[in-house]
């Protein structure tokens, strides 16, 4: 029998409370003020890696989205470094604590600035952070491989140190590693190699704004002067959309195209309009910028099964009030071809220009964003 140390959710006292009626249930869990979606200070909202998934011994460019209450903020002081140490099993955070320092033996500096390019090391990342065991010290047993995430991925961590007046602040960024498939049969490995494409960063196709009783209006990204004006306190509905990806993996490697199962490539290029052969030949990313399909070796059934990326969208504004800080679509919803998400927003009561950022993430580590301006005037 298993006894969990602490309740998963804090429900039972609320449940007991509810015996007296739901009006009292608000008393058991306090409301904490502060919203992630409201930008009140300089904040690093996101980092995008390009490519979103990298092999070992390859360059990756990291771009940051650093903003403040008045809009984008210069990120020239950002200090980037790869973390070369796997975090212990007992650590619930996303990086080894030893890497949260300005300098250290387990850090490999990348550079300074808002955008940097780092080189994923050869040989070691898929051992330290991947499915291959670290080379054992002579006479010592083989170390335990790292555990994959829920999509089967392994990640090279890096940390961004942001020097602030109050001290250093750290952000953890991970880059998905293409380490191949382990613990699979030969047939599974072949099928995986034929169907797996490195992850592609998602992309917001469009952001529409719908006023009460009106049709949706496209919100232009990256404006310097807002073209849309809202009334103070006006309630609107934002709708973010992304690419409607094909149900099957998009491309078959070139050397497999002539195979007997070339039929699996029926959806090739459905999302990017290109032929499979051209994408492979060019070595260009062949993924999709929406909820991509990918093969996944189910650790329970040991079957290679197709899966879909879940998509999350984070909403930020320098003023006003979003209903939700984040919205998105689960894997099951994505499977049902749902490729939009919406969020209500209440414009501030004070006139002015409001910066809005919408960050889109897939659950394989892909990140992208778009920036918008809205004018609030009577």
């Amino acid at each position: 029998m298993v006894t969990r140390n602490r309740p998963l959710f804090w429900g039972v006292p609320c449940a007991a409370l509810a015996v007296l009626g739901s009006s009292l249930t608000a008393g058991c869990k306090p409301d904490l003020v502060g919203r992630a979606s409201l930008i009140q200070e300089d904040t690093l909202l996101a980092v995008s890696a390009s490519p979103a998934e990298s092999e070992e011994n390859a360059d990756v460019t990291y771009t940051s989205l650093y903003v403040g209450p008045k809009g984008p903020v210069d990120a020239a002081s950002f200090d980037w470094a790869f973390c070369d140490e796997r975090k212990p099993l007992a650590v619930t955070g996303s990086i080894a604590p030893l890497c949260l320092v300005p300098r250290g033996k387990v850090l490999t500096p990348i550079g300074v600035g808002g955008t940097v390019t780092g080189h994923i090391a050869a040989d070691t990342p898929c051992k330290t952070f991947g499915p291959f065991a670290i080379d054992p010290v002579a006479g010592q047993p083989t170390p335990r491989p790292a555990d994959p995430d829920t999509t089967g991925g392994f990640y090279q961590p890096l940390r961004v140190r942001i020097p602030l007046a109050t001290g250093d602040s750290y952000t953890v960024v991970t880059t998905r590693l293409d380490c191949g498939l382990t613990n699979a049969t030969q047939e599974q490995s072949i099928a995986y190699a034929k169907s797996y494409l490195p992850n592609e960063n998602p992309k917001l196709d469009a952001l529409t704004l719908t006023r009460s009783g009106a049709h949706g209006e496209m919100v232009p990204p990256d404006e310097t002067t807002p073209s849309l004006t809202l009334k103070p306190g006006e309630h609107v509905d934002f709708d973010a959309s992304w690419a409607d990806c094909a149900a099957k993996t998009a491309c078959t490697p070139c050397d497999a195209q002539s195979g007997a199962d070339g039929g699996t490539n029926a959806d090739a290029g459905a999302h990017d309009g290109g032929a499979c052969s051209s994408t492979c030949a060019a070595g260009a990313p062949a993924g999709c910028t929406g909820s991509e399909s990918y093969p996944y070796l189910d650790p329970v059934s040991h079957e290679l099964v197709p899966r879909r990326e879940a998509i999350r969208v984070s909403w930020y504004a320098t003023d006003g009030d979003f209903d939700h800080d984040r919205t998105g679509r689960t894997e099951q919803e994505a499977e049902a071809k749902l490729h939009t998400t919406d969020n209500d927003w209440t414009a501030p009561n004070i006139a002015g220009v409001v910066h809005v950022w919408v960050v889109i993430r897939d659950d394989r580590g892909g990140v992208a964003w778009s920036s918008y301006l809205l004018n609030v005037a009577p």
Binding site: M1, V2, T3, N5, R6, P7, L8, F9, G11, V12, P13, C14, A15, A16, A18, V19, L20, T25, C28, K29, P30, L32, V33, G34, R35, L44, A46, V47, E85, R86, P88, L89, A90, V91, T92, G93, S94, L100, A133, P143, R144, D147, D149, T150, Y155, Y170, T171, V173, T174, T182, T185, P299, V300, R312, D323, H324, G328, V359, G365, V367
Partner: protein
């Protein structure tokens, strides 16, 4: 030096008639009209009581004789005695006390049994002669009191099978040299409805029982009349050094327990207050899984249903519940922490009875009866309906937001009593819990699903026989299944665990007196558990003790999978002796337990699918010496101490090659206990016990950034707990019972080799409980409980990092468990009213109001999204729960 006396002569020097006017109140009056009488048959002593040579006279070494005038009732019992020829106060007192236990065949006057007076001479002589043969009988004494007032009752006829004795002016009675075995004890008297119970006597022992009877002193209407009630308060001589036993009658009346007898364990000294909704039983700073739970001799995995609202055994079956937080004897083992034993009520052949009860949480019913004199049965069932209630009293679907426990339990007992002192019982103990909750958020990562099912089933047989020589044999084989299934989902991160165990156990114990000064218990304690497990999900979910995390924090997005089987088998012979020294004032209880065990695990290392895995097996033999000493320093002061070594095999879920370590060895604990009990008066006792428990070989997470395969857990953890507990207890006498318990302790752990001690996750420095219950009369009863406890330790958030992949802030922790949730305090009140219908039927309605001051007790710390603010989730508000119980 052994001091003995002998009877030099038994002389009926003179025999006189005893007039009816001088007969003792409890005696039988001689036949009316007897004026000129003739003794047709002299009295004959059939039960003799030895008087000890007074200790105060030992130095003199003198021989002495005391001549007594003994009044023998028509029933043959001694109705009174006076000193006719003194040998000094000490000798006189010893002789008078002894003669009270004499039983005669009554004298006959004119052919009719009649009271008479005889002279009797006791001769005392110190001697170092050859030790006498072991005593093959038991002495059974006691007192009968008015339950409401606590006043002794004179003239009550106490029956021990065929023998009878009347209580004296102090309410005392005595039966010397009773035959070992199980006896029917009856109480009757003027205005009494005879009541009875069973007592089991062991040769060579003295028993002192207290019977409280409820005497009707006023004429009440039938619906308010309370029948005479018999309460056995204390007949048990053997008691662990640190032990608290609560009878079912008291336990059911404690405020805040909802009438659940076993829930009273939470209020005993040494037990940490569990968070609302957890029900974890933390005893003397040991993990909940380290405390063993037995119903009679049947091991069960949990004491409470999920959430801690109810125990898993219906209260109608429970005779008492005993908590031994540490230092317990050799008959039990396999746990580093405490021991909870639930005693079952003996099944009686006294007609058909039952109960039905209901409150806002659940409904329950029980029935018991007999088929003839030899076959007896009892069945009980309980099912929760809290989920049903919430759906109807709440404006929203609460079940979608909070985990509402659903549970049921059932017990069936069937006993065959072929003869007095022998019984065979078979029974089942079943329990099932289910929690299901889905929390849907706009953010896919905020969608959380929790499903948990826990079941256990036990089938047992229990053979019990009290032999003619006073020894007792019990054998309890049991068989059962445990099932746990957890299926959680934190956004995209799963955490599933399935655990199915098949369990076989056998406890067989012989207890007897091979020599008169030794009570020996020996037997075997066997248990075999075969468990099949499957786990998939985050490596740190479910969390372990010592994990640094904040409440509500999602597990890390690193998942793995394992399927494995384990077998843990142990066959432990044990022996324990209770050596009575210094005329029973000192008891030395040495014991030992030999625990050979075999542990197998199907997978030594993580292996890819389709590759046969290699298992691992190990054998160990642990030797566990135990020792307890109890010394009745004075008639009011008892000192006690104990020490012992305990081992516990690793949990099956910790033997995973992926998530645990198949090579884990047993953990070890050493307990040291020292304390004293002060008997202020008959119902009031103060107990104080200090303890130190050291644990080694605790399984902790591997702190290495590159742990070896198959070593996700290592056995480097240490633990220690030390403190003192106090208990001021007023037994149920008259209208009142209650206790005040206070524990001050410190429980600490390390997280691996070379790390410092830090507070245990469930450490509570101060735990204070005061409770009382008072009978207001006319069926009304009021109870109250107040609890105070230090908050659990938590680890502060020193700083945060932003995780770009999940768009969340992750805490960076400060010193481990260096802050605490604010202290908890709460008052509860219980008011009940009992309505009587006829002789055996009653209806009790009660209102149990928890947290009468509506104090917002912090139960957990929560943070905002970036950890710049924190607040407390609070526990129960003022919560009235009404219920009713019909008993017939």
């Amino acid at each position: 030096m052994n001091l003995r006396f002998r009877i030099a002569a038994f002389v009926a020097a003179s025999l006189t008639t005893w007039s009816a006017a001088s007969a003792a109140p409890t005696g039988t009056a001689p036949p009316a009209g007897v004026t000129a009488s003739k003794v047709t048959k002299p009295p004959k002593l059939v039960h003799f009581v030895q008087a000890p040579y007074p200790e105060s006279e030992l130095a003199s070494g003198q021989k002495a004789s005391v001549v007594l005038e003994v009044e023998i009732g028509a029933d043959g019992n001694v109705a009174g005695a006076t000193v006719a020829q003194s040998a000094g106060p000490a000798f006189d007192a010893a002789a008078l006390a002894a003669v009270q236990g004499f039983v005669f065949e009554p004298a006959e006057i004119n052919g009719v049994a009649s009271p008479v007076r005889v002279q009797y001479r006791y001769d005392f002589s110190p001697t170092t002669a050859t030790p006498k043969a072991p005593k093959t009988t038991a002495d059974f004494t006691g007192v009968v009191r008015n339950r409401k007032t606590g006043a002794p009752l004179a003239g009550v006829i106490v029956g021990l099978d065929e023998r009878t004795a009347a209580t004296d002016a102090n309410g005392r009675f005595s039966f010397a040299d009773a035959t070992p075995g199980t006896h029917q004890v009856t109480l009757s008297g003027s205005g009494f409805t005879p009541v009875g119970t069973e007592e089991t006597l062991v040769a060579g022992h003295k028993y002192d029982a207290t019977y409280d009877v409820e005497e009707q002193t006023e004429q009440l209407p039938p619906e308010e009349r309370v029948d005479f009630e018999l309460v056995v308060v204390d007949t048990q001589l053997e008691k662990s050094v640190a032990s608290t036993t609560v009878s079912a009658e008291q336990g059911a009346r404690v405020a805040g327990t909802g009438g659940d007898v076993i829930k009273v364990v939470e209020n005993l000294p040494g037990v940490a207050r569990s968070s609302v909704g957890s029900g974890a039983l933390v005893v003397w700073g040991a993990a909940a899984t380290d405390t063993r739970i037995y119903v009679e001799d049947v091991h069960i995995p949990v004491l409470y249903h999920e959430g801690g609202y109810r125990s898993v055994i219906h209260s109608d079956l429970v005779k008492n519940v005993e908590l031994q937080p540490g230092g317990y004897g050799a008959p039990y083992g396999r746990g580093l922490g405490g021991l909870v034993t639930v005693g079952m009520k003996p099944l009686e052949a006294d007609g058909y009875h039952g109960s039905a009860s209901i409150d806002a949480i659940d409904a329950a019913a029980s029935v018991r009866g007999s088929i003839g004199d030899k076959v007896r049965f009892q069945a009980a069932v309980r099912r929760s309906h809290l989920d049903w209630v919430l759906q109807r009293v709440s404006n929203e679907d609460v079940g979608e937001f909070v985990p509402i426990p659903k549970y049921w339990d059932s017990q069936v007992r069937l006993a065959w009593v072929p003869r007095d002192g022998e019984s065979v019982e078979v029974g089942t103990l079943l329990s099932s819990d289910q929690i299901s909750q889905t929390l849907v958020g706009a953010d896919p990562n905020d969608t959380k699903v929790e499903n948990k099912t826990t079941n256990f089933q036990r089938v047992y047989a229990r053979y019990e026989r009290h032999l003619d020589d006073g020894s007792t044999i019990t054998a309890t084989p049991f068989f059962g299944f445990d099932h746990t299934a957890i299926s959680n989902q934190f956004g995209t991160i799963p955490a599933t665990l399935s655990e199915d165990a098949t369990l076989f156990g056998l406890r067989a114990v012989w207890t007897g007196n091979p020599v008169h000064f030794l009570l020996l218990s020996t037997g075997i304690d066997a248990e075999v558990q075969r468990t099949s497990l499957s786990r998939y999900g985050s490596v740190n979910e479910p969390p372990r003790e010592g994990d640094e995390r904040v409440f509500g924090q999602a597990p890390i997005n690193a998942v793995n999978q394992d399927t494995w089987q384990t077998t843990v088998a142990g066959l432990a012979p044990f022996v324990q002796g209770d050596i009575g020294l210094a005329d029973g004032k000192v008891h030395v209880v040495p014991g030992a337990r030999l625990e050979p065990s075999v542990v197998t695990t199907s997978r030594r290392l993580p292996t890819p699918p389709n590759i046969p895995s290699t298992g691992v097996a190990r054998e160990d033999t642990q030797v566990e010496p135990r020792l307890a000493v109890r010394w009745d320093a004075t008639s009011r002061v008892t000192l006690h101490g104990a020490l012992g070594i305990y081992h516990q095999e690793p949990l099956p879920e910790d033997l995973s090659a992926q998530f645990g370590n198949p090579l884990l060895q047993p953990s070890k604990a050493v307990h040291y206990v020292l304390g004293a009990a002060f008997h202020l008066s008959k119902p009031i006792t103060i107990e104080m016990t200090g303890f130190y428990a050291k644990q080694t070989g605790l399984a902790t997470r591997n702190q290495s950034p590159a742990p070896e395969a198959g070593l996700s857990l290592v056995q480097d953890g240490l633990g220690r707990a030390y403190g003192t507990q106090f208990l001021l207890r007023h037994e149920l006498v008259g209208k009142f019972f209650g206790w005040i318990s206070y524990s001050i302790l410190r429980s600490e752990r390390t997280d691996g080799a070379g790390t410092d001690y830090r507070p245990f996750d469930f450490d509570q420095t101060h735990v204070f409980t005061a409770l009382a219950s008072y009978d207001l009369g006319k069926g009304f009863e009021v109870g109250a409980r107040f609890r105070y406890s230090t908050g659990y330790p938590r680890t502060p958030v020193a700083s945060v990092t932003y995780d770009n992949a999940t768009d969340t802030y992750q805490p960076v922790f400060g010193a481990h468990n260096s802050i605490r949730i604010p202290a908890f305090y709460q008052g509860d009140v219980r008011l009940s009213k009992q309505f009587k219908f006829g002789e055996n039927t009653s209806l009790e309605v009660y209102l149990d109001v928890q947290n009468v001051t509506n104090h917002k007790n912090p139960e957990e710390i929560i943070y905002n999204n970036n950890y710049t603010q924190k607040a407390y989730i609070t526990g129960l508000p003022l919560l009235p729960v009404a219920g009713a119980k019909l008993v017939w």
